[in-house]
Amino acid sequence: MAHEILAATNAVVTLDVALPGIVWPWLVTVNMWAKSIGTGIIFMLFILQRTHPDSVKNMRLPVSIIAFVFINIFLLFTLADLHQPFRMWHIFVYSNWTSAIAIGSFMASGFLGLLTLLIFLAWKKNDEAYDKVLLWTTILAIPVTLYTAALMSQCTARELWQMPAESAQMILAATLSGSAAMILFGGSKLSYEAKKSMGVILGLSALMAFIIYMSEYVFGPMKAEEVAAILEYIKGDGEYTVMFWLGQWITYLLPMLLIVLSRASKNESVLKLAAILALVGLFLVKHVWLSIPQLLPMS
């Protein structure tokens, strides 16, 4: 371990170029956040159709529109993050098939196409065709959710982002935000029982995501020196410590408590509060995890 010799060498970098600023900024956080909602709400519709079919009869059109809007936000911010946005079309013409960005672009475009078709079918009230297309949309939503984890794992320089953990976190972010969005946007169309089911999914997603973050927080530094150095930014008086813990509380701990409380008191407002907190907090959690590996000097 390099840091163990520091006391003996007292080595100090006295001349190097200044570190580059954050390369992937908050625009990429919005990208991940919006994509989680866009795919997550499709997962939830698919689940509710099987568990509470009567309750979601009138949810086809609103859910399709919500997913469409959030996937467009995701794509818009992806585009905004490019330094040469007008060359976006290069991805489809000069595709590099080893790149998660290229493969993800095709999948996201296909997903958007299916969402457009879903809106059309819901508007035409062709429920039979809608449900068939929804199956394929749900299946495609899985790799669309996961490809960002693949992209992060392709960032060889960022040791913190390991594919197994990031894949799990991406899926959990989708189920967490999808269930939260369903609780909030369900309104009077969605029964309280269905919302309670969504609350269970939200709570369990929060619990599992929290466990993974805490596992990385505690055990990550024992495996890799770079991970240890990166996690220093969220420990002690680290640059992102406050934001990290704020995110963990708002996204995971408080919603879990509120969901238990809402089930005990049968209070829908408490459930909605949990959903709002989860959606807001998810942005913080994602932003911290995106930013901290970028603070580490590479040279």
Partner: protein, 212 residues
């Protein structure tokens, strides 16, 4: 042919001639570098010394930047150079995020990724890279790794035990070697970094070069 670079850190005296030659040859904009020399001071006064480490693209055999680039703007040449097509680059900065050596930057003028290409345009004209020509002590050794009679191959054969690459654990198989290096010069975590990391200013962070 497999071109590679070796820097003998015993010889490097930190004159930055290579850095300037690179800047001029490749018209590298202000605040960005294709090649730079890092200084690390070691020890406690009066027992101190300064190490100099030229850092540039490692032209990895298993390059993460080539793998992540969605449009193949980063691509291999037949001679092993990892080259960049700036006309094709969309500026997603995936390569900047993937490179474990911090060797890629966003050119603030073209808004595209850029990095050392081993002066591929000079190689094509049978010339040596600008930094090799500029080095007054021949610390930069450049040549064909597959040719056992090339200077770089001979140097590696002679200094077998002392030849190192940066971050071998990343599995990138760099074609850029160092002789006379150590943890302090090659591992970024083996030295403290004060505010600015710079003798000549208080700049802590540079803008990425883009619109953010």
């Amino acid at each position: 042919m497999q071109l590679g670079f070796l820097v003998d850190l015993h010889l490097c005296m930190g004159c930055k001639g290579c850095e300037i030659a690179c800047k001029v040859e490749n018209e590298v904009p202000l605040s960005t570098w294709r090649l730079r020399v890092k200084y690390v001071d070691v020890g406690t006064f009066p027992e101190t010394k300064r190490t100099f480490t030229p850092l540039r693209c490692n032209h990895c055999e298993n390059a993460p930047c080539e793998r992540i680039c969605p449009v193949s703007a980063l691509h291999y040449l037949d001679n092993g150079i990892v080259n960049i097509d700036k006309e094709r680059c969309i500026g997603c900065a995936g390569c900047v995020m993937a490179c474990p050596y911090g060797a890629i930057y966003i050119d603030p003028q073209t808004q595209t990724a850029d990095k050392c290409t081993y002066c591929a345009h000079r190689i094509a004209s049978s010339m040596m890279p600008a930094c090799v020509v500029a080095c007054p002590v021949q610390a930069n050794i450049f040549g064909d790794l597959e040719d056992p009679t090339s200077n770089i191959s001979k140097y590696i054969q002679t200094n077998q035990g002392g030849v190192q690459v940066r971050k071998p654990e990343k599995g990138t198989n760099p074609h850029h070697y160092y002789v006379g290096g150590g943890n302090v010069s090659l591992n970024p975590l083996a030295s403290h970094r004060g505010e600015g990391h710079n003798l000549f200013g208080e700049i802590k962070n540079l803008p990425v070069g883009g619109h953010h």
